[in-house]
């Protein structure tokens, strides 16, 4: 299988003498057409990894290739082959959905004649065509997320990065996004890189997953492989076993302490 994302000791350090290791020597391969999930607790380094792979920030050490393009030497080429749904994206609230997608298409050099048709198609797909001229400030959170996913798809990139794609959505919108991701992976043959801490999403959508904690990749494989590696029964248990969690007996310790004092 063709490798479309390959990282080689990819690292991003911050602070004095690189004391804070946001991403630490990440070695990873993602294959063409697969849906890969990067799983980790808050602050684990998922968003930093995505930003590095999209050439938004530069690595402290190491490098990576995306669709064969080096993230250090071929920034523009990398950006053209990727679409990104950021974790906390900035929408232009004073633009309509159509205007925003038109702007995004122009940024990615989509020819004008193709762009109009594609915007219409995407807005129809997401059920937003009737409200295409409404300003985004009047959209619900789910509708805004749909517009942002449409924006990530506007230049029809072969690789799609989705950073927490459903974390702010209600169940209905989340289901719609999940179905769309499945279709993009299976029907359109896109390579999808999902970052999330919502385990069922990753479990349902991803062919393989990587678990990252404190910047380091600590597990890699299919869901079944990771469960087997950790000798647990579910992905949730495996995740806790790998990343650590609060022991059950500690949960009410604060109350016991007060009782002792009394």
């Amino acid at each position: 299988m063709k490798v479309v994302i390959r990282t080689d000791k990819l690292s991003k350090y911050y602070g004095k003498h690189g004391a804070i290791k946001a991403v630490d020597e990440l070695d990873l391969e993602v294959y063409e057409g697969e849906t890969f999930g990067l799983l980790g607790p808050n602050g684990a380094g998922k968003t930093t990894a995505v930003r590095l792979l999209n050439c938004i920030i530069k690595p402290t050490r190491g490098t990576a290739t995306v669709n064969g393009h080096d993230i250090l030497k071929e920034e523009v080429k990398v950006k053209r082959v990727t679409g990104l749904l950021a974790e906390s994206p900035g929408l232009y609230e004073k633009l309509s959905a159509y205007e925003f997608l038109e702007f995004m298409g122009a940024l990615y050099d989509v020819p004008s004649n193709v762009l109009r048709e594609r915007i219409d198609d995407l807005l129809k797909l997401f059920g937003l065509h009737d409200r295409r001229d409404d300003l985004l400030e009047g959209y619900s959170r789910g509708m805004k997320q749909k517009v942002l996913i449409a924006a990530a798809l506007i230049h029809d990139p072969p690789i799609l990065f989705l950073d927490e794609p459903t974390s702010t959505l209600d169940p209905r919108a989340a289901l719609m996004v999940k179905d769309l991701i499945k279709k993009l992976a299976n029907g359109a043959g896109k390579t999808i890189f999902i970052c999330s801490h919502i385990l069922p999403i990753v479990e349902e959508l991803c062919d393989r997953i990587g678990i990252i904690n404190q910047g380091r990749l600590i597990a890699l494989g299919t869901v079944d492989e990771i469960i087997a590696q950790t000798r647990t029964k579910t992905l949730e248990e495996a995740f806790i076993a790998i990343t650590g969690g609060v022991e059950e007996k500690e949960l009410l310790a604060w109350r016991e302490h007060r009782r002792d004092e009394a």
Partner: protein
């Protein structure tokens, strides 16, 4: 054919700015051009022809050049700080990710953002340049002189706007990544206006213009002004006005000043483009989180003043939340700066009533800044109190006490300091003045708290905030102080102190208590 990326960004920026007039957007540029053409061709020439004799007399005075330089400097400075202030008020970096993930150069983003807002500033530049041209046309300038005049305006103001845009973008990137940075931005947004206010007050009451007409006192100001790029054009204008139709008479001056301005504009463009990479970055600048220290003497005292129990803790929490926002501290600093400037430039030290008039008009704004933020954090912040037992009563009590503990001491110190400027003022004068100010300000705090609860502003963009500020700044001092003062003077021949003692103070307290009662009632009904 692919479009230039800066054009895409500029178009987007223009669309954002004109989203409120989307229906007339296609005709908007034509409408503006027609209106500006009417102003420049018909209105301005007729308007300025009325003053042409005075203008001609002014041109030959010694003060002409520095006064035009000051006017140009003020507009130049204004064009620099407007984009900075707009950015600092609400530092947003979310959209940066869109640009950084796209195949676009930072310099294209910067140029696009600049060009996108330029049409709106171009309207102002056209009005100013059109007015100046209309002023100078009757002097029979030739075409070359008029063309250079217009070009000078364009270069001067657009280089200022470019500097402002670049600086704003860099500040946005530096400050926008952390909550602390955003707070610093909001704090700076207000403070940055103080130099401009100082200059205005210096012109209005500080005798700056008079000093400039005097060759002996204007030397230093002239030297300072001549260094500023905004001033170079002024020397060319005055040269043209003194030698209409004869560009050769001031050939060397025109060449050096105009050439200098062109070089400055190009240098600013080049340096700005170089700085673009710094202006668009999502690299983290700091990971150091602000940490709370153990309570010191100040918070312990506040806790004691609040009774030491749960209410004292509540009061201290409010002080901490207020004091740790630089934005709040900058508002107090801004008010102190304003009071200092008023004292320096506008209030005469030997005018005892001036101090009281100043406090009656300026200190209500301080109260509004300190107490008016009661609802600014949104309804959810208020619901915390609504949920707690007797929460609303405690919120009102704590906010009132907090307002008094901040505003009253500041007002007292300011009054004492301003009274002490004139050594002739007696101790009795100082005590009476301070006492009256304290009573007035304490009532104002109640009034403001009541008003902001009755007409809550849940964000700093709310129209209610503007209405409330206007009531506090205009209706309150006029209604309780100035109008009663005029009436009592005319009808009963009573003076300032009698008005303050018999009308202003009791009326402010009465209105304050009434508003606070109504505000508290409204608060309990907010859903």
């Amino acid at each position: 054919m692919t479009r230039h990326k800066w054009l895409v960004v500029a178009r987007n920026e223009y669309r954002i700015r004109t989203s409120n007039i989307r229906k007339i957007r296609p005709y908007f540029p034509y409408l503006v051009i027609v209106l500006l053409a009417i102003y420049v061709s018909f209105i301005a020439p007729r308007l300025f022809s009325l003053f042409i004799d005075d203008i001609l007399a002014f041109i030959i005075t010694y003060a002409a050049i520095p006064i035009v330089q000051i006017i140009l400097f003020m507009v130049f400075f204004y064009f620099i700080i407007i984009p900075i202030t707009n950015t600092l008020k609400e530092v947003q970096t979310e959209q940066l990710e869109i640009f950084l993930a796209a195949p676009i150069k930072p310099s294209d983003v910067l140029l696009g953002e600049f060009l996108g807002v330029m049409p709106f500033y171009a309207i102002v530049v056209t009005v100013i340049a059109g007015s100046f041209t209309a002023l100078m046309t009757p002097m029979q300038l030739d075409l070359a002189q008029i063309a250079i005049t217009i070009t000078i305006f364009v270069l001067t103001f657009f280089s200022a706007l470019w500097i402002g845009t670049v600086t704003a973008s860099i500040l946005r990137t530096r400050l926008g990544k952390t909550a602390r940075g955003k707070d610093v931005g909001r704090a700076l947004a207000l403070i940055i206006a103080l130099p401009m206010i100082a200059l205005m007050y210096a012109i209005m009451g500080g005798g700056l213009l008079q000093a400039l007409t005097d060759p002996q006192t204007s030397g230093m100001v002239r030297t300072v002004l001549s260094v500023l790029p905004s001033s170079w054009g002024a020397e060319v204008f005055i040269g043209f006005a003194s030698n209409p139709g004869n560009i050769g008479a001031t050939g060397f001056e025109t060449l050096t000043r105009f050439g200098g301005l062109v070089a400055f504009f190009l240098a600013a463009l080049w340096l700005g483009a170089k700085a673009a990479n710094r202006a668009y970055s999502l690299e983290a600048t700091t990971f150091a989180a602000s940490r709370a220290r153990p309570d010191g003497v100040f918070y312990k005292t506040v806790r004691r003043l609040g009774g030491g129990g749960p209410f004292g803790t509540l009061l201290v929490s409010m002080f901490k939340d207020y004091g740790r926002r630089l934005e709040n501290l900058s508002k107090i600093f801004y008010m102190l700066g304003l009071l200092a400037l008023l004292n320096i430039f506008l209030i005469q030290p030997d005018d005892p009533e001036g101090i009281l008039v100043m406090t009656a008009f300026v200190l209500p704004l301080l109260s509004a800044f300190v107490v008016g933020e009661v609802t600014l954090r949104g309804k959810e912040a208020l619901f915390i109190y609504k949920k707690a037992p007797s929460g609303i009563g405690r919120l009102v009590k704590a906010r009132l006490l907090k307002g008094w503990l901040i505003v009253v001491p500041i007002s007292a110190v300011v009054t004492i300091a301003t009274s002490l400027i004139n050594p002739k003022n007696t101790l009795a004068f100082l005590l009476i003045n301070t006492g009256l100010v304290v009573l007035m300000v304490a009532a104002t705090v109640i009034f403001v708290l009541g008003l902001f609860l009755l007409n809550p502003a849940f964000s700093d963009k709310s129209g209610n905030l503007f209405v409330n500020i206007m009531i506090v700044m205009q209706a309150l001092p006029f209604g309780t102080f100035l109008i009663p003062l005029i009436i009592l003077r005319e009808v009963f021949d009573l003076g300032l102190y009698a008005t303050l003692s018999y009308v202003t103070v009791p009326l402010s307290w009465l209105m304050g208590i009434l508003l606070l009662y109504l505000g508290k009632r409204k608060l309990s009904r907010i859903e």
